[in-house]
């Protein structure tokens, strides 16, 4: 069954649960799609895991009880409701209940557009495209000893129901990726690239810039050593590197479920400057990038949140529980659409979506001219945040040397950025005039609970500790 077909059963379940508790909700999701992957050794074309099921949630006034089922049928909803009520009967009613706002009355269905429905493309055509992508990488790349081409279409159908709203959405996106393995006989290097887009088969392309970047930059990594002069340097972050910086710096740092746990120093800095006045930062689940949706996994309609405005930390992002508790404490917290689950059977947390630095006015050439000695950082790979201590770690595959306002062509690999988040942000002295979307991202809460995100930004000039 489709998740939205369970809405009548969910409405009944919520009515029964709310005879006992102040707030109840239902969330259901099923996934569909295919991944085609071609390498020298194997060809794989398989459906993605359906991960279909639902969760019923009951808020007692002081805690959530949730039960998940992998069966999308009304009988399973009735059984799960009975089980949840049985567990609720064993709990005392709290004296001082926190109320969760169910939001406005809504009954809507949404769907992302696909010009060419990728679910209808035959397996053979998907394999043929992945094969062509692989060949496109290998052609004329003598140092590329192996390449893998991947094309995947990912579809999710989601519904959310509480006492106020009945919402359904269909999300569609396509992912194109490639991995190159390079060798000069002595050294080996690997580099991957790709993109994700909302929509369908119309977005596949053999002409995307990432393909040329892989072919150009992969061989440059062969034999590249670590930085010869680790320490603080003038840097230029590429747009996708800036994106990872945004995500790790004040994406995680403003997730307000961390505020409840006293794990975010940002809680003390709302309304205060944390960055150069050149810095603006936004989380926007509705901007059309690959992590976009119409409503979050708690039924809140997607709207953008300005996190940093001209260097001042102005807003956090939250889930329903975090917003309820913080408002109970007297903070005037605006509800944002950031309650997200890894899957139907995972807990919702406050999570980012499409997080990016806004564009400025400088060009890359202008920035480059002002750096007498420094590095241009590209090909971000992974990052980690510390919202309590405001430490940060960003890692990338390539740092290219800048001398006398020019790129020298010498590259070092890998490169890691560490330091204090506000110190890094306050050192931003130039911001580029074009925002780049890095669309392949996934984000963990700590080291688990993976959800789809994107990040992005313009090129930025700043000072950072590199190694």
């Amino acid at each position: 069954m489709r998740p939205t077909s369970l809405i009548p059963a969910f409405v009944d379940a919520i009515a029964r649960l709310q005879e006992r508790v102040p707030y109840a909700s239902a969330f259901a999701r099923s996934n569909a799609g295919t991944s085609a992957r071609v390498s020298a050794l194997s060809t794989i074309c398989q459906p993605i895991s359906p991960q279909a099921g639902f969760t019923l949630s009951a808020w007692t006034g002081e805690r959530f009880l949730e039960i998940s089922s992998d069966r999308l049928d009304p009988a399973a909803v009735a059984q799960t409701t009975a089980r949840l009520l049985e567990r609720l009967r064993a709990l005392p009613r709290p004296d001082d209940a926190i109320m969760i706002d169910p939001g406005p009355l809504l009954d809507r269905r949404f769907s992302q557009d696909m010009q060419h429905d990728s679910r209808l493309i035959p397996a053979a055509e998907k394999v043929a495209f992945a094969t062509a992508l692989r060949q496109r990488l290998l052609d004329g790349s003598p140092r590329m000893i192996e390449a893998t081409g991947i094309i995947a279409d990912v579809h999710a159908e989601i519904c959310f129901v509480n006492a106020s709203c009945q919402l359904g959405q269909e999300l569609h996106r396509i992912r194109e990726m490639a991995l190159g393995t390079f060798s000069d006989g002595t050294h080996q290097a690997e580099l991957h690239g790709g993109f994700e887009r909302i929509g369908g088969w119309e977005h596949r392309t053999l002409e995307h810039r990432f393909i040329e970047d892989l072919r150009h930059d992969g061989p440059r990594l062969l034999g590249a050593g670590r930085l010869p002069d680790p320490g603080e340097h003038d840097c230029i972050f590429s747009g996708d590197f800036s994106g990872m910086f945004a995500h790790e710096a004040f994406g995680h740092g403003t997730e307000q479920d961390m505020f409840l746990k006293d794990r975010a120093k940002g809680a003390e800095f709302l309304g205060k400057p944390v960055a150069s006045p050149l810095v603006d930062m936004i989380d926007d689940p509705a901007n059309g990038w690959a992590a976009s949706y119409f409503f979050d996994d708690e039924g809140v309609l997607a709207t953008p949140t300005r996190i940093i405005s001209q260097g001042v930390l102005v807003n956090g992002i939250n889930d329903r529980y975090s917003a309820a508790v913080l408002n109970r404490r007297g903070l005037d917290v605006a509800k944002t659409a950031n309650g997200r689950r890894e899957a139907y059977d995972h807990k919702p947390y406050t999570r980012m979506t499409n997080t990016y630095f806004a564009r400025g006015t400088s060009t890359f050439a202008e920035m480059l001219r002002t750096v007498s000695h420094g590095y241009y950082l590209t090909h971000p790979s992974n990052g980690m945040e510390d919202p309590k201590g405001w430490g940060i770690q960003l890692e990338g595959a390539m740092a290219e040397e800048i001398e006398g306002g020019r790129l020298t062509g010498r590259v070092f690999s890998p490169v890691v950025v560490t330091g204090s988040v506000p110190k890094l942000l306050q050192s931003v002295s130039q911001v580029g005039d074009e925002v780049v979307e890095a669309s392949l991202g996934m984000c963990g809460k700590g080291y688990k609970e993976w959800v789809k995100v994107t990040d992005g930004g313009p090129v930025m000039r700043l000072r950072a500790v590199l190694a």
Binding site: P47, A52, L65, D73, G231, Q393, T418, A467
Partner: protein, 447 residues
Amino acid sequence: MSGPAPVAAGLDLAAIAAALRQQPWIAQWQVTQRDSARQERYLTFLAVESERESASTTWTIWTATAAVDGKQGEASFTIQAGEPLAALQEALGRAHAAAQAAWNPAFTLPAAGEDGVAQATTLAPEALADASISADAPGAVACLAQEFATAVAACPWVRPSTLEIFLTTHDRVLINHRGLRLRERRTHAFAEFVLLHRAPGRDEVEFYHQTEAASLQALALGARVARAARCVRDGAQAGTTVPGVQPVVISDEYLAKLLDSFRAHADAGRHASRTNVFTLGEPVIQRRSGPALTVVSDPSVTSLAAYQFDEQGYAPARTALIEADRLVGVVGPARWMRVLGRLPRGMAGTLVVPAGESAPAQLLAGALEVVAFSDLAARYDTGAFSGEIRLAYRHHADGRVEAVTGGSVSGILTQALADCRFSRDTTTCAGYHGPRAVRFAALTVAC
């Protein structure tokens, strides 16, 4: 709750096997049934914020056509409990189309009794599954929460920000068209917690810890909380890391993650696709001093990487991967082992490294001992690794120990191992069993 829920009405293994036998295009098939049941509890400052329970059943079905010119068409898919037989039939139709598009080197699934194939339970059941989790997961969750509270109470300087507990029982049944039928139960205990502490006149700091094991005993939550409490107290008064090239000691899960890169270097798929960095027989380390490195894959050694049978039904087998600093073995899926002309010997299991000879004091003298990184892993292609230091101890020559934070440690694994020393005490974490700590003679520390 007593283990995973029964298989839902509708599909079951017998019905799936019958449907597969009726497909004329299917020459080989395998079905893996996975039942799992999970209990979770989330605490904030010791108050319960959320409790969750879930159960699921899936069947992962792999099919192949008859081989033509040494190649076979392959397709796999997953179907969930509650789906009707018609859904399986539709999925098989799509699998047929996918198999016609995905041709791979032919191989044959194993049969019971063949060399290297699991016959029944190889390991003692308690090696993989903790009966206290599978029999009463809610009770086990409550016990862990109490263990946490007791441990925190013994450290009155900390505030217990969060605790997340997940306890899961997984049952796996594997059948194939050659009559193989194997069953395994395993349990998984996971805990993540954060302790806070503020030193007078300083900002409050946190210490984050995540741990997982097959049993509650191996999880050792109370002991981990006690250690974390000491770390957060020290971290609250930590000074600044001193940069430079210096001896660095890395231990437990970080050491396990670094050495885990040898699992990739010995991966049969890498060697079959000729994207391996090291060739068999080649040194992986240019030794400068200290004893040579030995790394073994042994799925019969208890850890989260132990198993009764692998993805295709092969039994646990010990395979030497690194001996005397040289790559000597490969391990991985049967199909890639056959491409390499080797007998399948199961997927990689627990990574076992022999204990070293150094006592803790010998390792730590004059070194920077890093106890918490933001993240640390070595790149497969170059062996390069870097990690931001969340908390470290600087062991001065005069015996003083100073907590520090900030900056990063970086190096190249194969160079760093060239003059390292391992501890004589051992640990088991994630899929690793071996020395608890290693001392690298010279790593770069940058601030």
